[in-house]
Assembly symmetry: C3
Amino acid sequence: MDIIIGHINVMGSFVFAISGALVAIREKLDPFGVLIVAFITAVGGGTIRDMLLAERDVFWLFDTTIIYAILAGAIIAMIFKEKLQFFDKPIFFYDAIGLGLFTITGVQIGIDYKLTPLICILLGTVTGVFGGVLRDIIVNEIPVVFQKEIYATASILGGILYLVLVEWNVSNPFLQIIPISSIIITRIVAVKFNISLPTIYKKEQ
Amino acid sequence: MDIIIGHINVMGSFVFAISGALVAIREKLDPFGVLIVAFITAVGGGTIRDMLLAERDVFWLFDTTIIYAILAGAIIAMIFKEKLQFFDKPIFFYDAIGLGLFTITGVQIGIDYKLTPLICILLGTVTGVFGGVLRDIIVNEIPVVFQKEIYATASILGGILYLVLVEWNVSNPFLQIIPISSIIITRIVAVKFNISLPTIYKKEQ
Amino acid sequence: MDIIIGHINVMGSFVFAISGALVAIREKLDPFGVLIVAFITAVGGGTIRDMLLAERDVFWLFDTTIIYAILAGAIIAMIFKEKLQFFDKPIFFYDAIGLGLFTITGVQIGIDYKLTPLICILLGTVTGVFGGVLRDIIVNEIPVVFQKEIYATASILGGILYLVLVEWNVSNPFLQIIPISSIIITRIVAVKFNISLPTIYKKEQ
């Protein structure tokens, strides 16, 4: 299981690095600024997850592959910055993939530490969401998690689905692929069709 | 003592969740946004405190009661959002209670780890203050700790009082109730009567 | 080596406290606000470094000297706030010294933990850079690391130089003094002569 989590960490870092780099490029930062925002976006969520667990070293400290994945993502974003825009909202697209991948690593690590299901889901959401939140705080934007369309909700639903599949003993590639895809698809559908949670405020505002 | 700290953690999380949720409601966030701001406000200070101590797990990871207390606080704030305004400044009111409760947990944990008195007080202030600071950074406000009226000062004075009472072997309910109340009252009096620290700047600015 | 790191931590905390206090004074914060910004600036980078390493206690928890150094820095800044302006950019000056000092502690701790060279350098940069980043986020400025002139680059180059000197078995005072000075001088020269990284954006934007 640790090997799979390791692979997902590398992939998640790569796509989140692209999303972070694209935000930094939009803000016209210099190359090192782009690298730093890519790095914080990529490792932010997983770093907070690992710092919450006292006996756990931060995932990228002993795994240089992750640093290379981030460098690759940031450099690709800098070189192909126009080409990456084949989707109308490329930042959102890479962010959605990262959200799906990292949520599952958080839930699985929660299971490994025998935390309660509620806290496993919370750990998944922290892992999936906080890279993007830090990215947005750093460039002084409203964090993506507070935008109108479903975001944390997608992460939470995917986390619950993963716990159910673990309970049902679903075997290995599907166990991860189904909830990861469900998070990415939920997020893409929410943005495409502008789906948001019901409001708790009166209309006339 | 651990049981008492546990109870105070639950109460502090509850009131800070209300204060966080009220800020998020004022900013018109959707229900999940409100939950997330409530969560960060409630656990922020204690989480930083526990991450500073290498061998200590974060307090809410193994205690689902705290998550329920936060959910309760956030939901109550969403349902009774108009009713909670029986004070003219409800956010400030719940924040003051949380400041009092959490400061004492930080100082006590410092004592448990045999830290020096100065660092015990610092740990109390970090625990009491940082939930509100994170809440305000996230919604892009000036952190409450930098506002004119006495805030960190109340936490520091309460921390010193707690250390003195521990030294005097004051017995259990009073040991906590006296410094917690003193922090809450100091804060309320400071805001009511607009009391602030003397300025270090020249008048004509 | 631990003693030297300890001394550098105290000096770095002192100069970063001055830089943080000067920023807070410019923002007209009250005395406690100045203290808090000084504290966060001084310990921010090293605290994140130590939280990343699971078995490591945060450096200032068991070392009251650092707290005194921060108090001294903040009080000196408050008393001599006009006198400290003998340089036209005093905040930048103390920040540069702190960047040099703290970068080296991060790289050395990485070596102690037998991390790969790439991650040692990264740890040095996190230690050197994040105190100033937190200071700037708190007072709502663009983080210094994203400003035009070379900043993180100076830290990275100094980290590489330190690793090379360690490899060459350079003896003790020079081992630290050379890379620390090189970071400070690089930063000062970059600001004086307005040197920045080449842009990745087209001119006409």
